[in-house]
């Protein structure tokens, strides 16, 4: 029997029992829709994590003051005197001591209110060094970034994040403009490029000033050398753990820490910072995936059930086909083809419903869903595969029927 004739014969049989076929297809459809959705959710969650890592900068370690009791790397106390200093950051830049460290940027932050003309905006003022740009992997959209001269001259300059710039200068180019902070006028020398797909708006709403300007002209009362975080960029992905060891050893040495108990800083990696966030998405993904697996199993059993009913009901047809010269293998193939058609229709419809569901979920639930063509095709293949697996037994039963028994059936 030719493949085309096989397909036509199977299609005729599926069409002859429209309602029954449709109900079987629905079983597969639900499973595949769930698969499509869960794969999309998983991809969305992974993309989120990657974006957040990219926003922080690549191959990054974050050193925070205080003890490192919390395994997630989130600091417990806030506002207590900082134990990290600009000297710590300076020491880390020595290639002899920390050869796997590419760049270091110490930051101090405080929340301030900025004014530009009639506009007023509260943002995070960050004092840092020119190396911040490299460490955090940011680019400047217009103007320039902070320089060593700014630092040396205690220059009254500021670089704004794109959101901050938009709030303070809604009408045009902020570069060359002036913002005021508690009466101190700062010249805007540059605006950062917006992050490509920012989930975390805080990274685009910042005002960056030189450390010297921050300590001497803007924020009074702070210990001059204290910093609120040191960002350490490793030379590469492979040297990240070496950079961690070097940073840890150097800071322990500088702070005179001997045991595990008296460490007054903590080092977090990107993974540990993002672990908590991504695990939520993963849980959701696993849950939907579990539902998908169960739905597919139920769908497969549905196919098997319908095929068994079909074989019983069509005993005479099977007998006749055999009498007319159909080999057992031709009968088996016909029933497998019918199962495959049910699976294919269910798979295609399931992917369509899954994609529609993905669009709905990303609108309603604020979860990112990224459907991919590969995943959709794979889901359809899975649907056909499930239908075939569950169709094997009914098809073999049909193939094994003796033609006279089948014909005798009234």
């Amino acid at each position: 029997m030719r493949p085309r004739d096989l397909a036509r014969t199977a299609l005729d049989a599926v069409r002859a029992h429209r309602l029954r076929s449709a109900l079987t297809v629905v079983g597969i459809l639900i499973g595949i829709a769930a698969v499509t959705l869960s794969v999309g959710l998983g991809a969305g969650a992974r993309a989120d994590v990657r974006d957040r890592i990219d926003e922080l900068g690549t191959n990054l370690l974050v050193v925070s003051p205080g003890s490192s009791a919390d395994s997630t790397g989130i600091r417990g106390g806030f506002g207590s005197a900082s134990t990290l200093t600009a000297q710590d950051a300076e020491a880390l830049t020595d290639p002899a001591v920390a050869p796997d460290v590419a760049a270091v940027a110490a930051t101090s932050t405080s929340t301030v209110s900025l004014t530009a003309g009639d506009e007023n905006w509260t943002t995070t003022l960050t004092a840092t060094s020119p190396s911040w740009q490299e460490v955090r992997s940011r680019t400047v959209a217009s103007g320039r970034f902070l320089t060593g001269e700014d630092e040396a001259a205690t220059a009254a300059v500021v670089v704004l994040g794109p959101d901050t710039a938009a709030e303070l200068f809604p009408d045009g180019n902020p570069v060359g403009g002036t913002v005021t902070l508690d009466g101190t006028r700062l010249e805007v020398v540059g605006v950062l490029e917006a992050l490509s797909s920012s989930e975390n708006a805080a990274n685009d709403d910042v005002a960056l000033v030189p450390r010297s300007t921050y300590a001497q002209r803007l924020v009074g009362g702070t210990t001059r050398d204290a910093v609120s975080a040191i960002y350490v960029k490793a030379t590469g992905k492979d040297t990240l753990s070496a950079a961690y060891q070097e940073t840890d050893a150097l800071l322990r040495n500088l702070h005179g820490s001997t045991g595990a108990d008296d460490v007054d800083f903590s080092i977090a990696t990107q993974e540990s910072l993002l672990g908590a966030a991504s695990s939520v998405d993963r849980t959701l993904s696993v849950m939907v995936g579990g539902i998908a697996a169960i739905a597919l199993l139920v769908g497969g059993i549905g196919v098997m059930n319908i095929m068994l009913v079909s074989v019983t009901e069509r005993i005479r047809e099977i007998g006749l086909r055999k009498a007319l010269g159909a080999r057992p293998s031709a009968i088996r193939r016909q029933f497998l083809a019918e199962a495959a058609i049910l699976g294919l229709v269910g798979g295609v419809a399931g992917v369509a419903v899954g994609l529609a569901g993905a669009a709905a979920v990303s609108r309603v639930a604020d979860a990112r869903v990224i459907p991919t063509a590969t995943a959709s095709l794979a889901a359809i293949a899975v649907a056909v595969g499930v239908a075939l697996v569950f169709g094997v037994y009914p098809a073999s039963r049909a193939a094994r029927l003796a033609p006279i028994d089948a014909l005798r059936n009234e």
């Binding site: 047809e317 055999k322 010269g325």
Partner: protein, 267 residues
């Protein structure tokens, strides 16, 4: 199995060795054909050493009462079942040692079936029903359609090719089934109670068609329990208790002649 194990009717077994009637080259050669059904503790001998020869172009009626074994004989003749003992040569080829796939091929190429229940597929139009054997022979679709239409024309239903069985009368349905039996140009047409479900007008129609085919040189074996149907055949074989009880085709040899027997046989 060259020698019949049992020889209850010496006349019939002997006469099969001579070619009978209008028959030329033998299409069917049965030699001591036996079929035993094993039903646990009891074994039932449905056919008990049937030896029979049917020549090319013969129209033979096989008749007998219910339970006589004629259905079993029909199944064996149609290669729908395999004998327990004895040999069956169809168109000169021994079919006993064949596996299910090879038997399917034999049914497909050499035998055309006409059943009492018509056995048409309700969802397919007349010509799609007729093309079924060609489908399994691997014939290309265009040629299948052409040959199916020729066969339908032969049974006078060319204008009903696009009708489904439900839209046809019983007689027309059986004629579609005959067209399906013809479409592969088989050596043998095996009709199992072809008029059992038909009224007298349709019966005449279908029997007339079979006689036309016979006149055209087809070999036809007609299994029936209706005496007037059997009477239309030129040769009648009566099966009783799994054996050939009487064979009107034994005319050429010993035993009663065909004319004497005609119309006398009662199931």
């Amino acid at each position: 199995m060259s020698a019949p194990t049992i020889d209850p009717t010496t006349t019939t077994t002997r006469t099969t060795e001579t070619t009978v009637g209008t028959g030329g080259r033998p299409v069917i050669e049965l030699d001591g054909l036996t079929k035993t059904y094993d039903l646990g503790s009891v074994s039932v001998r449905a056919l008990d050493g049937v030896t029979l020869r049917i020549g090319e172009g013969d129209l033979v009626a096989i008749t007998g009462p219910s339970g006589s074994g004629k259905s079993t004989l029909m199944h064996l003749l149609g290669c729908l079942d395999v004998p327990t003992a004895g040999s069956y040569r169809l168109a000169g080829h021994d079919v006993a040692p064949l596996d299910p796939d090879a038997l399917a091929a034999v049914r497909n190429r050499h035998i055309g079936f006409v059943f009492q229940q018509f056995h048409l597929l309700a969802t397919l139009t007349a010509w799609r029903n007729v093309e079924l054997p060609l489908l399994y022979a691997g014939v290309e679709r265009g040629e299948r359609r052409e040959r199916a239409l020729v066969a339908l024309d032969r049974v006078g239903l060319a204008d009903r090719a696009g009708h489904r069985p439900g839209e046809l009368s019983g007689g027309q349905q059986q004629r579609v089934a005959v067209a399906r039996a013809l479409v592969t140009e088989p050596e043998l047409i095996l009709a199992d109670e072809p008029t059992g479900n038909l009224d007298s007008a349709s019966t005449a129609e279908v029997l007339g068609l079979l006689e036309d085919l016979h006149a055209g040189g087809r070999t036809i074996v007609l299994i029936t329990h209706e005496p007037d149907v059997a009477a239309r055949a030129e040769r009648t074989v009566v099966i009783r208790d799994g054996r050939v009880h009487h064979d009107s085709g034994a005319a050429a040899g010993a035993g009663p002649g065909p004319t004497a027997d005609r119309g006398v046989v009662r199931p």
